[in-house]
Subunit: 196 residues, 2 copies
């Protein structure tokens, strides 16, 4: 087959794939996870049921794919933030703020869409999420090591430990009520990193 | 029935109950969750299978009861720590240190006993654990509010937000390799609380 054909097919598959994810999340938000069927998803996406099953075996795996896409987007966002700040201290600060606000927003969105704790646990079980956690840890550890070398954060605690502290502390963003509260959380975390 | 009889029965039930929990955890640590049956638990506890089923319907619910007992013990431990320190700043410090070391030790024990992530997620789903989280939050918020009033921690961030920051940050203790690393984590968290 000519290359163009393959590319077109690939673009088409990607479009259908993304449409399935978006439709499913919208339906789950509207009706709740248990009330959504594969037939409804197919109908609302505008594809046949048989086609839908070529992409995904069940509703849960669609939601998992949606979650992986979200998380991948957030990682790219963080990587861009890292590139756009010059100074190691500012770069770290921007990354922590971005991570915390993303975490806050995802939790908010999950609550808004009526994702219960079981579904959230299920989504967090995927191997993609574990891989992402490692990437996130590495990315942040790099920023912390740079900032320590630049004298912007303490260097008497190993970068791996500082990273674990940050990542856990900022997860509190999920339970905070506002963006302003998340900013205060970031300030607390940075104060911990900077003090001696 | 006379009161003494009831008390004896109650003490007996409590002894059997506790023996079931201890036996089950030992068996799961030895053989893995999936390999342990109710029959083995009954035999090793020294009771009949029918008696065991009067206490618990399955292995998972025994482990959940064991986990609740552990968590209740830890909360009592924290409450004692709170009572034994005089100064608000020292009291807070002792509570954070105790909480972090407990968290570290439980994670270590869980890994040692071969508790996989699915079992841990299952144990954390119990309503007891949710209630405990609230009690823990309240206990810590009280200590933080006292310390803020005594000028030992910053008072420009609400005690609820400081509590969320602490509880999340200290959960990093679960992934840290040593007690010394946990102490450094507590120091980072305290530095965040104290800075302005």
């Amino acid at each position: 087959m000519p290359k163009l054909w393959n590319e077109t097919i690939e673009a088409h598959r990607r479009t259908v794939h993304d449409a399935i994810l978006d439709t499913t999340v919208a339906l789950v938000a509207e009706r709740g996870l248990l009330a959504v069927t594969m037939s409804q998803i197919a109908e609302k996406t505008g594809i046949g049921r048989a086609t839908l099953y070529k992409y995904f075996p069940d509703v849960e795996s669609i939601l998992m794919a949606w979650h992986s896409r979200q998380v991948a987007g957030h990682l790219e966002h963080l990587a861009r933030v890292r590139e756009h700040e010059g100074d190691a201290g500012r770069r770290l600060e921007a990354m922590l703020e971005t991570y915390a606000q993303i975490h806050h927003q995802m939790a908010r969105q999950g609550r808004h869409q009526g994702f219960g704790p079981d579904l959230i646990r299920f989504l967090h079980r995927s191997e993609d999420v574990v891989r992402t956690q490692h990437q996130l840890h590495d990315m942040l550890r790099g920023a912390l090591a740079d900032a320590a070398q630049a004298g912007q954060v303490r260097d008497d605690v190993a970068a791996d430990e500082l990273t674990a502290f940050c990542l856990h502390a900022l997860q509190a963003a999920a339970v905070l009520p506002s963006k302003a509260a998340v900013q205060r959380l970031v300030a607390l975390t940075l104060a911990g990193l900077r003090a001696r």
